[in-house]
C-alpha cells in the first residue's frame, strides 16, 4: 500500500502537460539504482496492523507489567484528555508555525507551554522545547562555556549516566574540562565544590533529585557557584517541582530537564521534550524556538515565533544552537498535563510520589538482605537499595512474577555492590508495593 493518489491515466496526462512522454525523461542521466531493493514487499494496512499487534505483544509493558523502573523516565498517570487532543490532525500534521496567521493553534499552545514551565520552574523564560533532557543539558553547558569563556564544568558524580555520556559527546571537541564532583552519602560534596570552584569555572551542574533519587543541597550550592561568577545549571525533574524548591528560587541561571514525567508515555525512550529555561539575561543566548505575544494589524492579540535572530536559519554558524525541529507536540502534551492537573493537582502528584516511595522504602528496609546505602539522605520518588544477591538474579526472579525490578547500577556504579534503583510513583497502589515487597522477601 502506498499513498500516491494518481491513476495511470492521470500520470500520463501530467507527463504530457510537462512535455515528456515518460517519467524516465525527468530523471534522464541520473545515476539510478539498478539493483533490487532488499526490503520486503509492501503490506496492506490489515497486514501491517497484524504485524504491529504481533511485535507489540513481544514487548512487556504496564499495566500488565508491574514496573519499578525510573532513572529518568517515569510511569505516571496521563489523563485521557491528553491523547484525545494530541491526536487532532490540526495539531498533529501542522509544520513549525512559520505562517502565524494560520498557526495560532500551535503558537498559543506553545506560549501556554512556555508559561506553564516558567511557572513550575520559577524561571524567567522558557523556550518552546528541546529534543530531550540530556541534550538540553549539553546545550546549557555550551551556552555557559561560550558566555563565560571558561572551560571547567563541574559534573556531579550523581548525575544521570546518560546525561554525563551526552555531555561527554557534545563537549568532546570543545576543549571543555568536565570535573567529577564526588558524592557523599548520595549527595554532592559541597566541600569539594567550595575548594574547587573558581573563576576558571564555567558552570556547576546539579541534578535535583539526582540520579539516586536524592534531593541535593541546591540552595546551599548557589552562593558557592555565584561567588565564582560561574553558571549555575540545574537539571530538574519537573514533576518534583510540586514539592521541591524550583530552580528559579535557588538561583539557577539555566534550568533544564526531561519533560517526560509530565504525562508523556515512556515509549521505549521517546519522543520526549527537553525543557530549557533561564534567567532573562540569557534570553538572547538561548537555543531553540520562542513564541511571543504580539498583535496583528487589527490590534488583535496574536502569537508568533520571535527572537529568531538567535537561530540557525538566520544566523547559520553564529547561531546559539543548531536545533531546528524539536518537539512541539510533546510540549503540548506537557502543557495539557500541567493544565489538567492544575495548581492543586500538580502539588498532589508530587506529594503522592513522595509518600509512595517512602512507604515502599519503609517496606523494603524491613526485608532481610536489603541494605539502604544512602539511608539518611532525603529522596523524592526513587531510591537505591543493595541486596545480598546480584541484581540480575533479582530481576529475573521478579520478572517471572510479572514485575520489572529496579534498575541495576552495576554498569555505572560498580562501587555500589548489587545496587538497584527503584522508582515508586503515584501509579503504584499500596497493594502493588506490598506485593513487590513480598516478592522481594521471597527472592532474597
Amino acid at each position: 500500500m502506498d499513498f500516491t493518489p494518481h491513476t495511470d491515466a492521470e500520470r500520463k496526462e501530467m507527463l504530457a502537460d510537462i512535455g515528456v512522454s515518460d517519467f524516465k525523461e525527468l530523471v534522464k542521466g541520473l545515476p539510478l539504482y539498478e539493483g533490487d531493493f532488499k526490503i520486503p514487499s509492501g503490506l496492506s494496512e490489515g497486514e501491517v496492523v497484524r504485524l504491529g499487534h504481533e511485535l507489540g505483544s513481544r514487548n512487556q509493558a504496564p499495566p500488565r507489567l508491574l514496573s519499578f523502573l525510573g532513572a529518568g523516565c517515569y510511569e505516571h498517570y496521563s489523563p485521557a484528555a491528553i491523547s484525545a487532543l494530541m491526536s487532532r490532525g490540526e495539531f498533529l500534521t501542522a509544520y513549525t508555525p512559520y505562517q502565524p496567521e494560520v498557526s495560532q493553534g500551535t503558537l498559543q499552545t506553545l506560549y501556554e507551554f512556555q508559561s506553564a514551565i516558567c511557572e513550575i520552574t520559577a524561571m524567567d523564560v522558557c523556550n518552546a522545547g528541546m529534543y530531550e533532557g540530556a541534550s538540553a543539558l549539553a546545550e546549557a553547558v555550551l551556552l555557559a562555556v561560550r558566555e563565560t569563556g571558561r572551560q571547567e564544568v563541574f559534573i556531579p558524580h550523581t548525575l544521570h549516566p546518560d546525561y554525563k555520556a551526552v555531555l561527554d559527546t557534545y563537549t568532546a571537541e570543545a576543549s571543555v574540562q568536565l570535573i567529577d564532583v564526588p558524592q557523599r552519602n548520595g549527595q554532592m560534596d559541597l566541600d569539594f565544590l567550595r575548594a574547587r570552584v573558581t573563576e576558571n569555572t564555567a558552570a556547576v551542574i546539579v541534578q535535583n533529585p539526582n540520579f539516586f533519587g536524592i534531593v541535593e543541597p541546591v540552595v546551599e550550592m548557589g552562593p558557592i557557584v555565584q561567588a565564582a561568577g560561574a553558571f549555575y545549571i540545574a537539571v530538574v525533574n519537573p514533576l518534583s517541582l510540586g514539592l521541591l524548591t524550583p530552580p528559579g528560587e535557588f538561583g539557577a541561571d539555566i534550568a533544564v530537564g526531561e519533560g517526560q514525567a509530565l504525562g508523556i508515555p515512556p515509549g521505549y525512550g521517546g519522543p520526549y521534550v527537553g525543557l530549557f529555561t533561564c534567567k532573562s539575561k540569557w534570553l538572547r543566548k538561548m537555543p531553540g524556538r520562542l513564541v511571543g505575544q504580539t498583535v496583528d494589524v487589527d490590534g488583535k492579540r496574536a502569537f508568533v515565533l520571535t527572537l529568531q535572530a538567535r537561530e540557525q536559519h538566520i544566523r547559520r554558524e553564529k547561531a546559539t544552537s543548531n536545533v531546528c525541529t524539536t518537539t512541539a507536540l510533546i510540549g503540548f502534551c506537557a502543557n495539557f498535563y500541567l493544565t489538567l492537573l492544575g495548581k492543586q493537582g500538580f502539588r498532589d502528584v508530587a506529594y503522592q510520589n513522595l509518600a509512595k516511595s517512602h512507604y515502599a522504602l519503609d517496606q523494603f528496609r524491613q526485608i532481610p538482605g536489603v541494605r539502604v546505602p544512602f539511608g539518611d539522605s532525603p529522596f523524592f520518588n526513587e531510591f537505591v537499595i543493595q541486596t545480598k544477591v546480584p541484581v540480575e538474579n533479582l530481576q529475573q526472579a521478579l520478572l517471572e512474577k510479572g514485575i520489572a525490578a529496579g534498575l541495576s547500577l552495576k554498569k555505572w556504579f560498580p562501587e555500589l555492590e548489587n545496587a538497584s534503583l527503584w522508582a515508586v510513583t503515584e501509579t503504584k497502589t499500596k497493594a502493588d508495593i506490598d506485593h513487590v515487597a513480598k516478592a522481594l522477601r521471597e527472592v532474597l
Binding site: E75, T169, C324, T339
Partner: protein, 494 residues
Amino acid sequence: MESLIFEKTQPGRRGYVLPALDVPSIDPAAVLPALALRKKVSELPEVSELDVIRHYTRLSQLNFSIDTNFYPLGSCTMKYNPKVCEQVANFTGFRSVHPLQPASTVQGFLQVCYELERMLSEICGMSEFTLQPSAGAHGELTGLLIARAYHKYKGNARKTVIVPDSAHGTNPASAMIAGYQVVNTKSDPKGRVDLKALKAVLNEDTAVFMLTNPNTLGLFETQIKEVAKMVHDVGALLYLDGANMNALVGLIRPGDLGFDIMHLNLHKTFSTPHGGGGPAAGPVGVTEALTPFLPVPRIRKTEQGFSVEETAPLSIGKMRAFNGNSLILLRAYIYIRCLGREGIRKLSETAILNANYLRAKLHDRYQVAIDEPCMHECIFTSAKQKRFGVKTLDIAKRLLDYGFHPPTIYFPLIVEEAMMIEPTETESKQTLDLFIDALNKIADEAERSPEILKTAPHSTPVRRLDEVKAAREPNLRWRSVPVKVSNPPTPAKT
C-alpha cells in the same frame, strides 16, 4: 480568538484528580530539609477537563495542517501521514515500554529498530545507521562528530567543514557545535556545486564537505561523482543532508554516489507527523569504514534474539539519553512496511512528477528560478510580480485566503524572493490544479489590484502580525502578576 487558558482559571477548580492516597500520609517537612521544600505555589491554571478540551479543540481549529489543507512547504515534505502509523504507535505494547527494560522484555521493539535500520541502510546504500538522533540537525551534529572521531582516529581531527551558500542553516550551525570552522562556498548559477570554488577551499584541513542533494533548488547534483572524488582526494568526507531524500528513495542510493555520512529526516521522507515542530527523528547512516564510530547503544541480532550493545571502543558515545525517539521510529517502520520495495520508488517518482507538473503549469505566470526538470520541489520567484510592487511575502499571504498553505519563502538564500514549492507525492492532480488556479488568480490580482495582496491575508483568524513588536518587547509567557518587561517598550514600527 481564545483567551489564554490561564485567563480561564477559577481558584479551586480541578481538571483531573489522582486516586486517594492509600499509603500512610507523611509530612514532607519530616522527610525533606526545609530548604528543599517549595514555598510559593506555581500559578498553574485551575480549569475543568471540559475547559481544557474546549479550549484546545478550538485552538486547534485555528491551524492549517495536512489533514485540512494542501501544505506545499518546500524542504519540509509535508506529505500525508497515514493513520495506521498512529494507530500502531498507540498500542500499549509500544507506548508504555520503559527504555531501560531488560532486552528479553522488549524483543518486539528491538526487532522494529533492527529491521528499520537494515531497511534504511538498504534504501540509502549505506552500511549502517544509528537511529538515535532526535531530528535532522541532531543527525548532522552526530554525523560531524563521527567524522571528527574518524579523522582523529586517523591522526588529525582537521579544522574545517565546507558548506555551500545554498545550504540549510542547520549545516553551518551543526559544524560549529562539532568544533569546526565553517567555510562557505559559492554555488554555481544553478545552485549546484561550483567545482572551481570547491577546489579553492578543499585542502588537508577539510574534514567534511556537507551537501544537500537534490540541492535546495530542487536540482540533482549532476557532478556528484566528481565532487566525491575531489573530496575524497584530500582525505575529507562527503556528508549528505538527506532532507531532500523524498526525491531519491527507491531511485538513487546516496551510498552509491560517494557519500560517506548522511542523515535522514523520518519526519519528512518517512512520513512521521510534524506535530507543529516535532517530534522528529534524524537517523544517520555511514559507510563501513565509519561504523565503529557510531553512537551507542547498537542493536544486534543474535541466535537468542535481539540484544543491545551498550559500548563500543571507538563510538562517539551518546547523543541523547536512552535509545532514541522510538515511537517515531516505529511509525517510520510501519510506513516503510506499508510501501515496501515497490512503494518507495513510486513515492519518489510521484513526488518528482508532481513538482514538475507545477513547474510546467506555473512557469508562464511565475518566474522559475532554474527552468529545467526539477526533482521533488521547484523554486519560483516573484520576479514577474515585482513591477506591481508585489513581493513573495504578499503572494504567500494571499494564498492563505485561498485556503492553501504557502510554500517556503525566502529560502534558499541564494535565490532572490524565493518560493520553494514541494507538493509531495500524496497530493492529487485535482489539488494541484486548484492550487495552480489560485496562483493564477493571484497573478491576476497582482496586476490588477496589488493592494489585495499587500494587505493579505483577509480571511484568517488573525491577520499580519507585528513581528517587530514581538521581538522588541518580548512577551514570552503569561504572568500571574504583570511585571515590567525587561526591554523598555519601543515604537512598534520604524
